[in-house]
Symmetry: D2
Subunit: 175 residues, 4 copies
């Protein structure tokens, strides 16, 4: 999970908090849907880590102090997909799952070496023009079948591949 907006926490503050309590995140799986709401493709961000490894990620980021979950979702979608993506934030806050990223591997399928993050995960249709900003190189659209392929899954470390599978299972796809 990449979070480059420091908000009004200094880096030191954030480091301290990360060592002491779970950090609340939101995560969005951007999708294209047809008129009947069926998911036709899934958008994955292409990133290059500080160590040069290529990975594909979902839209994600922290919820700030005094920020509503739905505003955090909108902010991170605009941050990652650009201002013209036109995401349809869900009307209900009920997530399809809660992903628990532990600094220790193996506690759950999710892993984040930096912190204990608890992430509310949503499928979010986007209808506009997506232009990844910040540290993402590109946004690539996959069919649900291709998104579930081993090739794509192998580029989604830290349990993000599991989360993507859960999202697709929630909308009716499981291969």
């Amino acid at each position: 999970m990449t979070e480059t907006t420091p908000g009004w926490l200094t880096s030191d503050d954030l480091e301290q908090a990360r060592a002491r309590m779970p950090i609340l995140y939101v995560e969005a799986v951007p999708v294209r849907v047809d008129d009947s709401g069926e998911v036709t493709s899934v958008g994955l961000l292409l990133r290059i880590g500080s160590d040069g490894t290529v990975s594909r990620t979902l839209v994600s980021g922290r919820v700030l102090h005094h920020e509503r979950v739905r505003d955090a979702l909108l902010r991170h979608l605009e941050k990652d997909l650009g201002p013209m993506a036109l995401p349809r934030i869900p009307s209900s806050l009920q997530p399809f799952t809660v992903a628990e990223y532990f600094p220790t591997q193996g506690v759950t399928p999710y892993h984040d070496p930096r912190q204990h993050a608890v992430s509310l995960a949503y499928v979010v249709p986007v209808t506009g023009d997506c232009r990844p900003r910040q540290d993402a190189l590109d946004l690539v659209w996959f069919s649900p079948q291709d998104a579930l392929s081993l090739a794509v899954q192998s580029e989604m470390p830290g349990g993000h591949g599991v989360l993507l599978k859960q999202a697709l299972a929630h909308v009716g796809y499981a291969v």
Copy 2:
């Protein structure tokens, strides 16, 4: 629940089926949402029954043979709200609840004297221009608070008021 599209069942066939097995319905609560997905108003259809009583209803109707649930949702939304309503059918088929209408009162909060109907219920944002067709006089938009008022609830018989409350609770409103 009003269903005036007979499909390819004759009236006699439908009567027979209704006496012998639960009939599958879909129900949609049409809402307007803001950019953050928050529900700002709820649309209720104004109908006059065959006995002259005024009532407010949700969008609902049968699922036909060989019809997908999402296609039935789309069809009934277009039937009740007109072709320009632009409903956003949910990407997941997980309903917020399942409403069971029994011909006998008191088994559940829902009641339909004609039949045992089991209804998959969804909150559906609509973004376009709604023009009720068929037997509805009008579509009236209410704030969530007004939709929960006693006055509106008293005009929603058969448990539809309960279902509306459940829908609003699902999106964060309960007064």
Copy 3:
């Protein structure tokens, strides 16, 4: 999906209804859970079809006229797992998904050559002693990982393997 309790529909009646409207089913994925609610194993019924093929299935069956969904769930769990299985029927009727079995292949991931069945699917912890009755040979418990294996999936035709994957994704497993 196997349904051997005819209820008070004659075979002819059922045949007629199946040709004309979607038939409402419930489906349960029986699981064992630990004290923290985490799924530790999944129960699959071993069946031999009329043509001699071995298959593994979930608990499933029709909802009868004037029967509540939760009573149908309980009835089919007792029918398939025996009277001492002690299933914990969910307090909410919100299913984890709705599976649409079409007589035509390819419309959805689910297929039933006999009928158009729409199934409300639930994960149901069982705490007692399971003794499969009726036409099932045995109930076999699998770890979530083994239940997701290709070997097991290949023995679950008609989309039941997909539904099992969706159930496991819903409770946090996706391999």
Copy 4:
């Protein structure tokens, strides 16, 4: 929301964190269910605040660093209801809603003057003997109808009455 287990955060640490980021909570609505899973009664804790006011609350508390959500649920249920309550923690982490308590009133229906808390809310059947511990005087069981009454709702400040209504709507009750 009452949280008296400081974990390994000092009071000062917790104060600091509360001023800077949302704090993750879990909340449980304890219920009794019948064999078909239907909720027959709801348990509310009776508390006396530091200012002498009587209030009724749900089970709630913080998720600690490196603690799973389901372990936090179990810990708080045992803390509030005693070690013999035998709660049935849900197999899926999907909450029925996410309640956002803001220090400022009016942002959401939920309010906590001490902090910005984000709470994952679950309905949890308990089957054993409940003996409230800590600062609760008593656990009182209400029928769903009585729990929704104005008298009870007026004793649940801070939006907990709204959350209870949402929980009951989720399991089929809305009066």
